[in-house]
Subunit: 526 residues, 2 copies
């Protein structure tokens, strides 16, 4: 089925153009659904007999692959140069047998069991990102990514009754929403908000708060006294067992603990559930692109040494296995990270190189820990989701797949900035040791038992990436903008040239914009 | 793998007893996790040479199957009598080819495509229910059930700006939480809550509200003015596209609309994400029980005509294909719905029959509509989840599986009580017509297009069920309690004898309690 479907869709993509599929999707309009800036894939017909152009693409990450895929639909000649031995760039799924040497010269070999893996880079896809459209078009099967779980934990260091112990998301929410509702209902009822609310506003608001916070009515002083939403110490069940709950934490402790600081993460445009992941690993996407493009068009192990605009096109110098080569083409799309592109000798004007240097790389780190037993399901009844803490590990992810299996791979930390640098400075063994010590604070001794393998990534020292993603001091002061138009015959693309930085959506929409601009230039040329 | 694993686990179950597996799971304790009342499966060793007892079980629904499965572990002889031709009772997955005649004499034949199905009864499992333990033990593969989706809709009839049109959950939440935060921050800052809050409480609370509601700081009057959490009309993407958002709805409209009334559903103990479903249909559970028990122990098409306590055991009269039969056994477990059990001629004392009659059946209805195109994904970018409305359809469920496939089956309504009765009174064609008319209000004309099949269930007129579940006027006034102890050699079991009514968890925990009591009696007899 998958095979047939993939081929069918690729056929539609190649012949009708992704635009045909995409315009169907864009014909939404019913209500409140974001439209991604209109994109019509280039078509061969547009060329109207013009000669076939050759585009060299620097980098076979998501932006490079998307660019190549879309250009091929219109019959462009495409050559991708990729320094790594695989497609995807930061979209990297680590499986058993993988070996990686970082910029500090440290080599790690992954010893994950068959079927186990970690997505070292991007790992989740919101429903509205074009990433899912490419999954559909390329036949990449998807499954839910569990970004939110009421039974995962919040862990806050501190001195309150809620501090230094794991609190279930559901418990924290029940108490915070309970007290917020009690306080706002009281203030409303006492007339404190009469200058903002009509009588019917007040009625409707209090009605909402009663349900939202599970609080008493007016006669009961709108009091929050807990509810089953917090969870049970003994679950409701047979006969007379109606369940045993504990009293809520004290209001002062709840707010002092900071336990509510993570709630809004789940409301985010690109983090609210539902989220998805490819079945089998995020790199199913780059490998599907590779198949659709044709692997022979990608030169792996090709490090770019120079990039020049020439009078008739571009000239790229690169090396594979020590041998320098020169490639001439009509156009280049540079999809390398800007901090790397800036270092490549070129005849690009200084303002362009300065714009590339304007990007500020951010670090992020992840560790995958394979366990021989899924204790988070069996002992803690946590089926996927994220435990958020103020420890330097940041977020712990339980696997979104393989439920009830024998093994599972937990992301022991996914952190950024200072915390990522702290772990990045350690040896791989040191990272695991520290992650286990921190995870044990949350999960108990089980966190250190039955560990079968681990692998960690520190994106700041990852060869050919040198960072997890970039931030711009500004995206509106004119510097960033220099990279949005071509410089001679050189175009740029990448998530860094979008407002969806660090997302594949950013790389894909940037690639689409670049391909559109390039194609427009070609079809409007004399 | 599944095969091996299932057999391994069944072996553990049969030899070590589910208790071995279960006690591992119960050894949790870390924090805040509900423990289900301790259960140790009966073991053969307990019998200590006593003669093997024969238990006849009325009904091969979830309670009956669980009872049989657990008793078999200790070597009891077990016979199940089931009026239907299949196991599971209300756990019923309808696939193409299924045919069902209801109590009104109306026959429906399901014409779903291969691979398409609807779970007519239970359809979701919370992480903490023992249902998942049985899935693990029996080797039933599970996958996420999508009970919450920020991109599904809320639809409220009325006269506000938000009425009579679909509003995304995320939009409603952003506005409600925004205004709640603004109002509470103002009241707090103005001192209206000073009798309840210390200075540091106030600081911490306002800090929380700023993040929770995405509101301005004090200098900005704590104003809520919308945010990307509401969603975008143009999504952030390439180049300078930072996304376009709309202004929030007016405060009065937001609260008057009642758009927040459904939020608390998602905080419920047994409805908060994550939730799960068996891969391929909920009936994978009863069929796995059937395999584990041995199909030869279940007599299908067996309608019970009479039940008698005798001096030495029980005597059950039943009919298969018109021929009356008598079965004698040491004990009976009656797991039939109480409203049906009450009608069976028996020598049960009047207070027991009265207790059975004390149960009040509730109706519920569902329609499955198979579409030839997954327009909810392609056009609306809704990948699973629930649209909640004030229309008589109640809730609409988008499928939790088969993403990006060619077809999909939407639950067009899942409603209860009056609304269920309203649809139940219609012909199957009439139900579809009405459901489509209502669904079109929310989703537009697409809702009526490319319909390939549909099937509806009205539990009140479902043979052998006569209701979706029951409620008790009271579970503490002594009447309900009469059914928790055996009457002579007759025991009762079922979700109705639990505080998890309408959940398989209720049926399973009730069965466990009943089996435990029966076994205790046997092993403590002289």
């Amino acid at each position: 089925m998958a095979q047939t479907r993939r081929h069918f869709l690729q056929q539609v993509g190649i012949t009708g153009g992704a635009g045909v599929l995409y315009s169907t999707m864009s014909a939404l309009g019913l209500t409140g659904l974001a439209e991604t800036a209109a994109f019509a894939a280039p078509t061969r017909a547009d060329l109207n007999g013009r000669p076939r152009k050759h585009v060299v693409i620097l980098g076979a990450g998501i932006a490079g692959l998307t660019s190549a895929y879309e250009l091929l639909k219109a019959g462009y000649q495409v050559t991708l140069l990729e320094a790594r031995k695989r497609p995807g760039g930061r979209n990297w799924t680590v499986r058993g047998g993988a070996s990686e040497t970082d910029l500090a010269g440290v080599t790690q070999r992954a010893r994950f069991s068959p079927g186990q893996y970690m997505n070292a880079g991007p790992a989740r896809i919101p429903q509205h990102h074009v990433t899912l459209d490419y999954c559909r078009e390329l036949g990449v099967a998807i499954e839910p990514f569990i970004n939110q779980n009421a039974d995962a934990y919040l862990y806050r260091e501190g001195t309150t009754a809620l501090s230094n112990k794991p609190i279930r998301h559901r418990t924290a929410k029940a108490d915070v929403y309970g007290y917020v509702s009690e306080l706002l209902a009281k203030a409303t009822d006492q007339g404190a908000l009469d200058s903002y609310l009509t009588v019917s506003d007040k009625q409707a608001l209090i009605g909402f708060l009663t349900s939202f916070g599970s609080i008493a009515n007016k006669d009961g002083g709108f009091k929050y006294t807990g509810s089953g939403r917090r969870g049970y110490t003994v679950e409701p069940g047979a006969g007379t067992e109606s369940g045993t709950t504990e009293s809520p934490y004290a209001l002062s402790d709840v707010f002092a603990s900071g336990v509510g600081s993570y709630f809004s993460f789940e409301f985010g445009w690109d983090q609210a559930m539902m989220m998805f992941q490819p079945v089998g690993g995020m790199d199913r996407i780059p490998y599907a692109f590779e198949r659709a493009i044709g692997g022979e068009k990608i030169r792996y192990g090709a490090e770019v040494l120079g990039l020049r605009n020439t009078s008739s096109g571009v000239e790229v110098t690169y090396t594979t296995g020590g041998r320098p080569r020169v490639l001439s083409a009509d156009f280049a799309i540079c999809s390398l990270p800007p901090q790397i592109a800036a270092k490549i000798p070129s005849n690009l004007p200084t303002p362009i190189v300065d714009a590339l240097k304007y990007a500020r790389p951010t670090n992020a780190g992840k560790i995958g820990i394979e366990y021989g037993r899924r204790w988070w399901e069996e002992d803690l009844r946590i089926y996927g989701g994220i435990t958020n803490s103020t420890l330097d590990t940041g977020n712990t992810w339980y696997p979104s797949t393989g439920f009830h299996g024998r093994r599972g791979t937990v992301i022991g930390y996914y952190n950024t900035g200072t915390n990522a640098n702290l772990y990045g400075a350690l040896t791989p063994a040191g990272r695991l040791e520290r992650a286990v010590a921190q995870g044990t604070k949350i999960h108990g001794e089980v966190y250190g038992r039955e560990i079968e393998a681990s692998f960690s990534v520190n994106w700041a020292t990852a060869k050919h990436s040198e960072g997890a993603w970039v931030g711009w001091p500004s995206q509106t002061d004119g510097t960033y903008q220099r990279l949005l138009d071509p410089t001679g015959n050189v175009y740029f693309a990448g998530d860094h040239l979008s407002h969806a930085i660090a997302w594949q959506h950013g790389a894909m929409t940037s690639a689409r914009a670049t391909v559109t601009a390039l194609h427009h230039r070609v079809v409007t040329s004399r």
